[in-house]
């Protein structure tokens, strides 16, 4: 038999070439690549005509009425069809159609917003000619990023509740997501959960919907492994999303581990089937607290019939009752503190590599005052090693929400002495782990060559510095 071959080998490089920053797509200008999947590439973009945000001075700051910068930043999902056979192109178009249809008919705060969609005409860029473009709200990161970085304990319940709200809305509107996984759970700038990627989402006709024979192996319920392929595709029911939710709950509480053993998706898929056929018990990680373990076990009931009782609505009601119960950890802190903790965890992903030794070196030529970094976590003080988990972030803009979008790459650690030149008194409120709160922020200098050259340290993360002049 001859080796397989075909045009796909020759078109690969062409299709994989990312668009450079500054490239214009419709009314939008690409700012950077976010990621690429099987059939699409996602870019961050801003409206054409608006300049990239400047950092440092903030003329509008005192007025407090300016629209938050970055509000109009979007994500562009580009699905090229050039070079594909008509039948492959049809699959792309079909996927885009599902997203658009769902976006226009079942919009919700827990679903990522679709702003517009169009087919690209790009005479100068043959590989993009005819590409389908979806313009969507831009998120700060995905649940996968957060799981990889470590989900702060107090955020876990809220995240699951958010996913549940999204699913409840989808199912109520008669849709099945069919590809729920942490990669498709996005976290908005205001720390809200937003479900995304509706390329496989399907509207129910009666009790079933049909999807193309695609999916992510780790999130397939047992019945899906033997599901027949029919004229319309594979039959899916809302209980498939509930199963996937069970896997996601376990991942959130068990540092990203699946409840099913195995080193590869195939091995875990085999374990799912053994469990589904009653030949193996469900063994969850003991790191999952009892309430969530029970909830995940219900989501992971082995058959569609057993799972059907546990609708997204009913799970949501149980979560709400649990979170309101006295003694529940969820009620202990205000929502703002969770924002700060979440932001710290998210930005740790990108920034941990940069050591703040450089920050300290810069302080030798201090023009104004200094502040010393203070970490409220006792375990992080008195450490000589710069543990990424103990690193703290610096904001780009003290009046914008303190989220991953608004954090510079440079990280700082407890005890670092930073050069600071001034302070503001009415920035975002930050509450630390010891419930100290402050709206004060210090402008600190970053190592030479950093872009932006300065950043903002919340006063709750600093000692001294109160004598600094007001920033103008």
């Amino acid at each position: 038999m001859r080796p397989p071959h075909g045009p796909s080998d020759t078109t690969d490089g062409d299709r994989a070439d990312p668009l450079p920053p500054g490239h214009r797509v419709g009314d939008w200008v690409v700012t950077r690549l976010i990621g690429s999947g099987g059939w699409s590439t996602v870019y961050a973009a801003r409206p054409a005509g608006r300049q990239p945000d400047r950092t440092g001075g903030h003329p509008d700051r005192t007025g407090g009425t300016a629209a938050p910068p970055g509000h109009a930043d979007v994500a562009l999902k580009i699905m090229p069809t050039a070079g594909l056979a008509p039948r492959q192109a049809r699959r792309i178009v079909e996927s885009a159609r599902r997203e658009v249809e769902l976006g226009s008919r079942a919009g919700h705060t827990r679903l990522i917003g679709l702003l517009e969609s169009f087919v690209l005409t790009a005479p100068g860029h043959p590989s993009l000619e005819g590409a389908n473009v979806l313009v969507m709200e831009r998120a700060a990161g995905s649940l996968r990023d957060l799981i990889d970085a470590g989900v702060p304990e107090d955020d876990r319940g809220g995240l699951i509740a958010g996913i549940c709200e999204g699913l409840a809305h989808l199912h109520r509107s008669g849709w099945v997501h069919a590809d729920l996984k942490p990669e498709n759970v996005l976290l908005g700038r205001d720390r809200s959960v937003k479900l995304s990627d509706f390329g496989l989402a399907t509207e129910l006709t009666g009790t079933h919907g049909y999807v193309p024979p695609l999916g992510t192996l780790d999130y397939f319920p047992p019945e899906r492994w033997r599901a027949p392929l029919g004229e319309l595709g594979v039959r899916v029911r809302p209980t498939a999303d509930i199963w996937a939710l069970g896997i996601v709950i376990h991942e959130v509480f068990a540092s990203g581990a699946s409840p099913f053993p195995g080193a590869t998706p195939m091995a875990r898929g085999a374990a799912v089937q053994e469990y589904g056929q009653g030949r193996a018990p469900l063994r969850m990680d003991h790191a999952v607290p009892p309430f969530w373990r029970a909830l995940a076990a219900d989501c992971l009931a082995p058959t569609h019939e057993a799972r059907a009782r546990h609708t997204a609505e009913s799970l949501l009601a149980r979560i709400a009752a649990h979170r309101e119960a006295p003694g529940s950890r969820a009620g202990r802190r205000g929502p703002r503190a969770r924002t700060a903790v979440l932001a710290t965890a998210l930005c740790g992903i990108a920034g941990a590599a940069l050591c703040s030794d450089a920050v300290r070196a810069a302080s030798a030529t201090a023009p104004a005052g200094t502040v010393q970094v203070y970490n409220a976590e006792r375990d992080c003080r008195g450490q000589s090693v710069r543990d990424p988990r103990c690193s703290l972030g610096l904001a780009i803009d003290p009046v914008r929400p303190y989220t991953a979008e608004n954090v510079v790459a440079t990280r700082v650690w407890h005890g670092d002495i930073l050069t600071a030149d001034c302070q503001v008194a009415d920035g975002e409120t930050i509450i630390d782990e010891e419930d100290r709160r402050s709206t004060h922020w210090f402008r600190v200098h970053l190592p030479p060559g950093s872009e932006p050259p300065t950043a903002w340290l919340p006063a709750v993360r600093a000692k001294d510095g109160t004598a600094l002049p007001e920033c103008f």
């Binding site: 059939w39 056979a85 397939f220 899906r224 027949p228 085999a270 374990a271 030949r279």
Partner: protein, 269 residues
């Protein structure tokens, strides 16, 4: 993923309790399941009975693991051979007392030595092997959305599938799905691993329908068998094209058209 299928041809043994030299046996094993094979007895039960005095009561066992299967050789003296019938002579030798040798082939023939001229053999199919999507843009695939029904594009069944789809791929004709003799004629001489019989083509089509695409139930309840066959072919072709499992580029796997026998129309273009 549905496990593996063990197929024992007629006259080699039988299931437990079956007559000697009994009928064809087909076992379907899910992940983690085990089937023992051997001569068997009331004290040594086996799921797959191989009726030959040279074969031990418990000769070995098959265990389904992930997307493949493992062979344990309980014999203390004999090696077993696992051949890949489509592999142009590819085979594995599983030595005596080897535990859990992983078998990488989708199609295997397990051959046990006997005292006679004819060795005893049975077949094991592992249809769950996963292949990367051809149009995936590289990168890690573990968490990505993939085609849940993957086909080995170098397998004979895939060549049969392409031949089935050829008329519609070439001229969009909705009516023409080739018959078995037409497929034998089209690709029969093209295989390196030997000739292709009409019976083999039919089994490849059944394998595609039942194990690879798992075509839905409707056809199964229809009465006339000949009618059902045609329905099945139409359905395979429809699904393979609709979901992009066979594409224009795969036509290159087929031998070049000669322009003979009713194909003048394409040749004239």
């Amino acid at each position: 993923m549905s496990g593996v299928i063990v197929h024992l041809p007629q006259g080699s043994g039988g299931a437990v309790g079956g007559r000697p030299h009994g009928d064809t046996v087909t076992l379907r094993l899910g992940p983690g399941e085990v089937a023992r094979f051997g001569r068997g007895s009331t004290t040594v039960p086996v799921e797959l009975r191989l009726d030959d005095p040279a074969i031990s009561r418990l000769a070995g066992e098959i265990r389904v693991s992930d997307d493949h299967w493992q062979l344990t050789n309980h014999s203390t003296t004999h090696s077993y051979l696992v051949e890949n019938p489509e592999g142009a002579g590819e085979y594995l030798r599983v030595p005596p007392r080897r535990v859990g040798a992983p078998i990488p082939f989708e199609f295997s023939r397990v051959v046990l030595p006997t005292r006679g001229d004819v060795a005893i053999s049975f077949q094991v199919f592992a249809p769950d092997h996963v292949y990367l999507d051809p149009d995936a843009m590289g990168g890690p695939w573990g968490n990505s959305t993939v085609t849940a029904y993957s086909l080995n594009e170098t397998a004979t069944y895939f060549l049969v599938l392409v031949a089935l789809c050829e008329p519609r791929l070439r001229d969009q004709s909705r009516v023409a799905v080739p018959t078995t003799p037409q497929i034998v004629e089209r690709i029969g001489g093209h295989l390196t691993g030997g000739e292709l019989t009409a019976r083999a083509v039919s089994s490849h089509i059944d394998y595609l329908a039942d194990e690879k695409l798992r075509i839905g139930a409707p056809g199964a309840h229809e009465p006339g068998k000949g009618e059902r066959r045609n329905g099945k072919r139409e359905e395979i072709v429809g699904l393979a094209l609709r979901f992009g499992l066979v594409r224009e580029e795969h036509l290159a796997l087929l031998p070049p058209l000669t322009g003979a026998g009713g194909r003048e129309r394409q040749a004239a273009r």
